[in-house]
Amino acid sequence: MISLLLRRLALALMVTLTVLTISFALTRLSGDIAVSIAGPAASAEDVAIIRKTYGFDRPLPVQFVDWVRSAASGDLGRSYLYRQPVSELIRDRLPTTLKLGVSALLLALFTALPLGILAAMREGSLVDRGVMLVALVGQAMPGFWLALLLIIQFGLNLQWLPIAGAEDWTGYVLPAIVLAFSAIPALMRLTRSGMIDALSSDYVRTARAKGLSRASIVLKHAARNAAMPVVAISAVQLGALLGGSIVIEAVFALHGVGYLAWESISKNDFPVVQAVVLFLAVIYIALTLIADLFNAVLDPRLRAA
């Protein structure tokens, strides 16, 4: 277990370094930053001054090492737009995004798991086909479009829920539903196929031969084994939800990390872009790591490996 933990941590560290490199490289490739900061009216001298002030005149490797060093100590640079440390910007916006992402994931899990299990138990039945149809529709429907439909129906026609902002929890309902809908198909399919495999396995036959109750067979013996891929994909989905909330936060005007990213991309506020990419990547890596360890708890064979 300890060696597994160490190996996964080393791997996570390497991935983080790779992400650092890529996010650094991408922002430098997207044009001369000094020019975009200076704005269209600036003279060549202005640009030169900006380049000097922000240190863009130094060799790229030096800039990179400098950036990595300060990122490691929590200093992600300053936003050109807000004239504020990026880490503060992210910290202020994070609760909104986390609330949205986590509630979307919970909503997705509470919908996808029971439906997936039910579909597996009645494979080929009308219930199964209905569930798979929902999965297909969910996968095909763009989030922003569903968002608009929900806004029209529940926000404008029925006026049950706010259509923008997050004064209280009601503001999260519609965006969470939209985000959850994007995560449900994959979770549901995986639950269904995992449960179908598990239910036709030899150990489930043994469990039936032992006379165990249906609940114990399905929810204990089968589900425990079907859970592993679902745990892995849930972690990935939460990462995707946090990243995917860029569009949804913009549609619902929720001022979270996603909104910040959208804003800074459109205004070329590159320290923010760089930091948000890094931040999301690190969250992704952390989630994957947690999922791996959680799976090791679920599956004794992984602990030994």
């Binding site: 036709s200 030899d202 039936r208 031969a209 032992k210 006379g211 114990s216 013996h221 599956d299 064979r301």
Partner: protein
């Protein structure tokens, strides 16, 4: 029915959703303290017979029978809930694949204990004590330590011993063993068979043992039913069957087994060409006729059941 008959099956039929008759009128009885071997090639319906008795057929398969009785109770009339209460308690079953028959995600102790907890209640502590005791009884070393282990940490032989111990948790009267030694090394096979014989002697178990291995039959069986294409084509006490095999299929099977001292090096070992046919509904006559060296025209008609000796029946046009 004699009082000591533990399992009685009369005219059991199983049809798969695919339109194949897997079991076609099997009748057999197992008495307390007796091992009844069900022998035949792969695909002859032995495992399906066992699963049908247990009520564990896969979806899409339907069973029918004049009678499937455990200690005089008609199991065909029981609900799934009532069957579940019998399974693992009075009737236990072990399977061919010790590698996959235990759940990889739970400890041996937890998987054994839940049988007792389910059928008898009484808490985990007591169940684990009994599990440890039984593991010791079936020859597993350091039983207390094994309880905390997971299936992947045990060898195939050990896992099969665990399966057997688990089957004994509630002191069953009937043990159905579906090829329990097929997946094991020869030496381990012998150990497991010896264990089954011992347990039977000590506990008075009725055992329905499914195997394709006539060596196993010779070692442990009291009665034998030879199955072919979903039918019992011959049934007799074990000595009687080996001394006077009467169905051509039984004889062909026996010819496939080398017997030291009687097989000559220059003589090829027997084999039965072809495979067991899939039986479609409406089939009439002897299912073995396509592979039988004695086949006659009359074999396409309904086959009479012949009595060779008391308790020795076979299905064939040929008189003994």
């Amino acid at each position: 029915m004699t009082p000591e008959t533990v399992l009685e099956v009369r005219d059991l039929r199983v049809r798969f959703g695919t339109g194949v008759d897997a079991v076609r009128g099997v009748s057999l009885g197992v008495r307390a303290g007796e091992t009844h071997c069900l022998v035949g090639e792969s695909g002859c319906g032995k495992s399906v017979t066992a699963l049908a008795v247990m009520g564990l057929l896969a979806r899409g398969a339907t069973r029918n029978a004049a009678l499937v009785a455990f200690r005089g109770t008609d199991m065909m009339a029981l609900s799934e809930r009532e069957m579940a209460r019998l399974r693992g308690d009075k009737i236990a079953m072990i399977f061919q694949e010790p590698m996959t028959s235990l759940n990889p995600a739970f400890t041996i102790g937890s998987q054994m204990a839940e049988v007792l907890e389910r059928h008898r209640g009484g808490g985990r502590r007591r169940a684990l004590d009994r599990a440890a005791g039984l593991l010791g009884r079936v020859g597993v070393s350091a039983p207390g330590m094994r309880l905390a282990q997971y299936p992947h940490q045990l060898s195939g032989g050990l896992r099969q011993r665990v399966m057997i111990a688990m089957a004994l948790m509630c002191e069953p009267e009937l043990l159905i063993a579906d090829e329990p030694t097929t997946a094991l090394d020869v030496t381990v096979q012998a150990q497991i068979l010896r264990l089954l014989v011992e347990l039977q002697r000590d506990l008075g178990l009725a055992i329905l043992l499914i195997t394709h291995d006539l060596g196993v039959v010779a070692r442990v069986a009291h009665r034998v039913s030879v199955m072919y294409a979903g039918e019992v084509v011959e049934s007799a006490a074990v000595d009687e069957l080996f001394a006077a095999p009467s169905h051509p299929y039984t004889r062909a099977l026996l010819a496939c087994v080398p017997v030291p001292g009687t097989v000559r090096r220059d003589q090829p070992l027997g084999s039965i060409p072809g495979t067991v046919p899939r039986m479609r509904p409406g089939f009439v006559g002897c299912a073995f006729r396509a592979r039988c060296r004695y086949a006659m025209d009359v074999c396409a008609e309904a086959v009479p059941e012949r009595l060779r000796a008391p308790g020795h029946r076979y299905l064939c046009q040929l008189a003994a």
